[in-house]
């Protein structure tokens, strides 16, 4: 099952757990399963069925397009990180 | 609009006549009236050298010269440097040495380098750096520009 690294600013929702193994074949499924275990998680990561602006998703160390439909392998390592604001990504949009 | 003056001058060996307002700089005249856009505006106050041209044999920032001041004088710009089928040795040296990145400062540097080599055909590295200190380049760190000018001196 994919492993989700919980960012320090979200660990108040996971009782301090730093990484969580949850089932899911897409980012959407992973987040839904996280939400089931840790209510409130989805509201921090998503709005209107999409990832919140300002949050970037890394899968196995690679920056993804930040889409909920992104496929994840069974042994994927997923990171939710602040999007690179002000740098390239933010202003180039 | 201010009354325009008639000016006759020589540009790159050709006699040229133009009308300009007294407040227009030589840079404005070259670019806007004569469409010689090789001289660039980087600062419009003589600090960057991107508009360098040679006026009666002397290197000037064309943004600090009025168009009307060129009456009866001779102006050399980047457009006049290469022969129809052959680049000037300084231009070749800039290409061979990869002495440009964005290229906006390049015409000014080449004109400055020409003015230097016209009066000092064998400059030292320090003399090149001293002479070119009035031209700003933000891309290259100057290393390859200085090498290009030294190479051009050696080739001439």
């Amino acid at each position: 099952m994919p492993i989700v690294a919980i960012p320090s600013l979200l660990r108040n929702l996971t009782d301090g757990e730093e990484s969580i193994t949850v089932p899911g074949a897409t980012i959407r499924e992973v987040i839904d399963n996280l939400e089931n275990r840790y209510p409130g998680m989805k509201a921090r990561l998503c709005e209107e069925d999409r990832i919140k602006p300002g949050i970037a998703i890394y899968v196995n160390g690679l920056l993804t397009r930040g889409s909920l439909i992104e496929h994840v392998d069974a042994d994927a390592e997923i990171h939710f990180l602040p999007a690179i604001g002000g740098g390239v990504a933010d202003t180039l949009h | 609009m201010a009354r325009r003056s008639h000016v006759q001058t020589t540009i790159n060996g050709e006699t040229v006549e133009f009308l300009c307002e007294p407040r227009q700089s030589l840079l404005e005249v070259l670019r806007d009236e004569l469409h010689l856009t090789g001289a660039k505006e980087g600062c419009n106050n003589g600090n960057c050298g991107a508009c360098s041209v040679i006026l009666d044999g002397r290197l000037v920032n064309s943004c600090l010269v009025l168009g009307v001041e060129t009456e009866g004088k001779s102006v050399e710009t980047i457009e006049g440097l290469a022969a129809p089928d052959k680049l000037h040795p300084i231009q070749d040296a800039f290409l061979e040495n990869a002495a440009l990145q964005c290229g906006i400062c390049t015409p000014g540097f080449i004109m400055s380098a020409k003015a230097l080599l016209d009066q000092n055909p064998n400059p030292t590295e320090h003399e090149v750096r001293y002479w070119l200190a009035g031209n700003l380049c933000r891309c290259t760190g100057y290393d390859k520009i200085v090498r290009a000018v030294l190479d051009a001196a050696a080739a001439e």
């Binding site: 740098g87 | 609009m1 090789g38 980087g42 964005c102 070119l132 760190g141 290393d143």
Partner: protein, 751 residues
């Protein structure tokens, strides 16, 4: 160190394709664009750093003969508070629009408030002085720590701090807080034998591109909007203008002219939408040019910052913990590069226990924009000088302590992901082996310093189309504006695939109607990602050519191979034809060949640099002279080594300027007092020695030729390297940038 074992074109140094145009003055930059009936635009800017706009009266300006149109924020569509999705993150659309033309408040001196189009630039300028703006002047907030105080004047009533999806209740100048935490920092510091904690302050600095911003716009009667401009990304201009003007992208064509430098500063739009608004209002093409003061005061610099760094190590030199606190000035609207700063600050090292906090804070200065490795130089100035101090305390050579703790493939970054194959250790080893590092350095007031730096690089979308010509050449169509020789570095990758010389490729940078979507020239991505797209397009051409050869020889495609520019038939029939000769027979074998490639690669591969610098400090005047400079960098694979060296040298010199001279100097009213090239003192060639650029090649597994972006990381190490060299020379630790003569004399207790 450069290897070229299997390549014919890659790693060579051909003349760049746009070179002749650029040395003869023929190349057309944005300001060189001319059109019949052209009007000239000029922007009126705020004289105040912080004020409410009570009223704007343009009637006197409109009455001036020669004036054809005036626009203000009222001419912009109502932005509300919509968050614009511009493809790669999101920005508040009201902030975006207000930065183009202020609506209710001006937030920095130089903030645009109105614009005029007239028959010549002088009339437009005169007309600006006839626009009457009534302001209610407010107290400016000019420094990040001051702006974070609870009682600081607020720039935006509705701005509240967000922390990874959570929004605070009370308004604040702190737009966001980010945090990365790895391991147990408390435990790590408890294990340390030496702990150093220092505070650092860095100034606001500008990219300093020589070409000011420019834009010419024209509206056709059918509603087609065309914009000719200098930009790092034509598609990005199209998106931003479409959002700001609420206009469909299909009706906007952006034509990228040659660009005179950007370094990140020509991604955001400023006058492009204004030119479009004036063109719409007047029905004529309108050219708007900035002057140098406009560029300093009205476009995004990179932020001033306050940084606290604490690092701990065992007496053997192993780093046990690190803590970073980064507060960055975003300028007038949120969006400083504190994110990348926080991501990069300890990235050269493998440290088990790390905590990093970053704050994005609005102040009354221009909205910051990217500048070469945005955020990383500020951060590295702190971390790399603290590491130097730790090495000194422990009596360990500064390069040795970097080798002991250097990050390698599989090590976890403080922000979570693990490093792929990286070349940090290799840069340190090369610096150590360089003759510079072992040269004598004992003279009085002479000092040597080293520092390293990291930049993650980006991938993003690129598209390339290749059209094959009958004479064996190809026309390569791309959307990446060429800011430093990328026509060559991209063409060379296609040439390598097809076994043809670099000179047989004709690269063209085209407008947004003429090539597939391509992200900006920025993030050190162009040679990497657009080069990757060129590789893919060339592979597609190769596949089609194999089909043609098979047809010609009446053999199965599987029996045609391609090597060294020759197609040959294997398994039976002995046939051979060169790429060039086959190109001449495309007509008879099926018609023209067009290959295309599009990519959005995720494996940009991080870049590392390690710099060594010798300085001489004049204790009388406080002036620091750079005596010798060596910059080592992992390029993955240097496609055109001359232009890789050029990036390294240019980045190092921008860093030297940042280290020693450059800063926005503000008075108490928030007015920049040095908004000219004379007073904002960038390095000239007389200030510098040659810069020895040393390329290390640790191929990036995320690119077919191993390319890593090279443009940004060379600006990361210089500030700390020079600070460390100054310490070596005179025994004083500098913690404030720039290390200008006055600051040095203060540090020496002389003033």
């Amino acid at each position: 160190m450069l290897e070229n074992k299997d390549y014919k074109v890659i790693g060579t140094r051909p003349i760049r394709h746009d070179g002749v145009d650029k040395v003869t003055g023929r190349a057309l930059y944005g300001a060189d664009f001319q059109a019949a009936g052209l009007l000239h635009g000029r922007v009126l800017r705020s004289p105040h750093a912080h004020a409410k706009i009570i009223s704007i009266d343009t009637s006197r300006a409109e009455a001036l003969p020669g004036v054809k149109g005036v626009v203000t924020a009222k001419d912009l569509p109502d932005a509300g508070d919509k968050v614009a999705d511009l493809g790669e993150g999101a920005v508040n659309l009201k902030h975006l629009c207000d930065n183009i033309l202020a609506s209710d408040k001006v937030l920095y001196k130089g903030h645009a408030v109105a614009a005029v189009a007239a028959t010549n630039p002088h009339i437009a300028e005169e007309a600006c002085t006839l626009i009457d703006v009534e302001y209610e002047v407010l107290s400016p907030v000019l420094e990040v720590r001051q702006a974070m105080e609870p009682d600081a004047p607020l720039l935006h009533e509705h701005l509240k701090t967000t922390s990874l999806g959570e929004t605070a209740d009370e308004p604040s100048n702190v737009a966001s807080h980010i945090q990365h935490k790895l391991g147990d920092p408390e435990k790590g510091f408890a294990e340390a034998d030496v702990i150093i904690e220092r505070e650092f302050v860095t100034g606001t600095v500008h990219q300093g591109y020589i070409e000011p911003h420019n834009a010419t716009a024209h509206y056709n009667a059918d509603g087609q909007l065309t914009i000719w401009c200098s930009t790092q990304g034509a598609f990005t201009v199209r998106e931003q203008v479409a959002e700001i003007l609420q206009y469909p992208i299909s009706k906007i064509k952006v034509v990228p002219m040659e660009i005179g430098g950007g370094f990140g500063g020509k991604i955001s739009v400023y006058i492009k939408p204004v030119a479009a608004m004036l063109a719409k209002k007047t029905g004529k093409p309108v050219k708007v040019l900035m002057n140098r003061a406009d560029v300093f005061e009205g476009t995004g610099p990179t932020p001033a910052s306050f940084i606290r760094v604490k690092m701990g190590a065992t007496k053997e030199g192993k780093l046990t913990a690190a803590q970073g606190y980064l507060a960055f000035e975003a300028g007038a609207y949120p969006g400083s590069p504190v994110g990348p700063g926080a991501m990069c600050i300890f990235a050269p090292y493998s440290i088990e226990n790390v905590i990093i906090d970053g704050y994005d804070v609005v102040v009354n200065k221009p909205k910051t924009a990217p500048y070469r490795a945005p955020g990383a130089p500020n951060a590295a100035f702190g971390s790399e000088t603290v590491l130097d101090e730790i090495a000194e305390h422990l009596g360990i050579d500064p390069l040795e302590i970097r080798l002991m703790n250097g990050a390698k493939e599989g090590d976890r970054r403080a922000d979570g992901p693990v490093h792929p194959r990286i070349g940090f250790i290799e840069t340190v080893e090369a610096a150590k082996a360089h003759p510079h590092y072992s040269a004598p350095n004992g003279k009085k007031h002479h000092g040597r310093g080293v520092a390293s730096g990291y930049w993650f690089n980006i991938g993003l979308e690129s598209s390339v189309t290749i059209n094959v010509n009958a004479d064996g050449t190809i026309n390569l169509v791309e959307g990446s504006t060429d800011i430093g020789g990328t026509r060559a570095s991209i063409a060379m990758q296609a040439a390598e695939v097809l076994g043809i010389p670099a000179e047989s490729v004709n690269p063209s940078v085209v407008d947004t109607n003429s090539v597939g979507y391509t992200a900006v020239t920025g993030g050190s991505r162009t040679t990497y990602a657009t080069g990757y797209a060129a590789y893919e397009a060339a592979q597609e051409v190769k596949r089609q050519m194999i089909t043609r050869a098979a047809k010609l020889w009446e053999v199965d495609e599987a029996n045609v191979q391609f090597a060294d520019g020759e197609f040959s038939s294997i398994n039976g029939k002995e046939e051979q034809i060169s790429f060039r000769d086959l190109c001449a027979r495309l007509g008879e074998t099926g018609g023209p060949i067009v290959g295309s490639g599009t990519v959005n690669p995720g494996g940009a591969g991080g870049a590392y640099a390690t710099h060594v610098v010798d300085v001489e400090v004049d204790e009388e005047t406080g002036k620091v002279e750079i005596l010798r400079y060596t910059a080592v960098q992992d390029a993955g694979k240097a496609i055109h080594p001359s232009y890789v060296e050029g990036q390294i040298q240019g980045g190092a010199v921008q860093g030297i300027g940042w280290a020693l001279n450059e800063e926005y100097i503000y008075n108490a009213e928030g007015e920049m007092t040095n908004a000219s090239f004379l007073d904002y003192r960038m390095p000239t060639c007389l200030d510098l020695p040659m810069i020895d650029a040393v390329i290390v090649e640790v191929p990036n597994p995320g690119h077919p030729y191993g390319v890593r972006g090279v443009g940004e990381v060379p600006i990361v190490p210089p500030m700390a390297a020079i600070a460390n060299a100054i310490y070596d020379a005179i025994g004083v630790r500098m913690t404030e940038l720039p290390m200008s003569p006055d600051r040095l004399l203060k540090a020496l207790g002389k003033i």
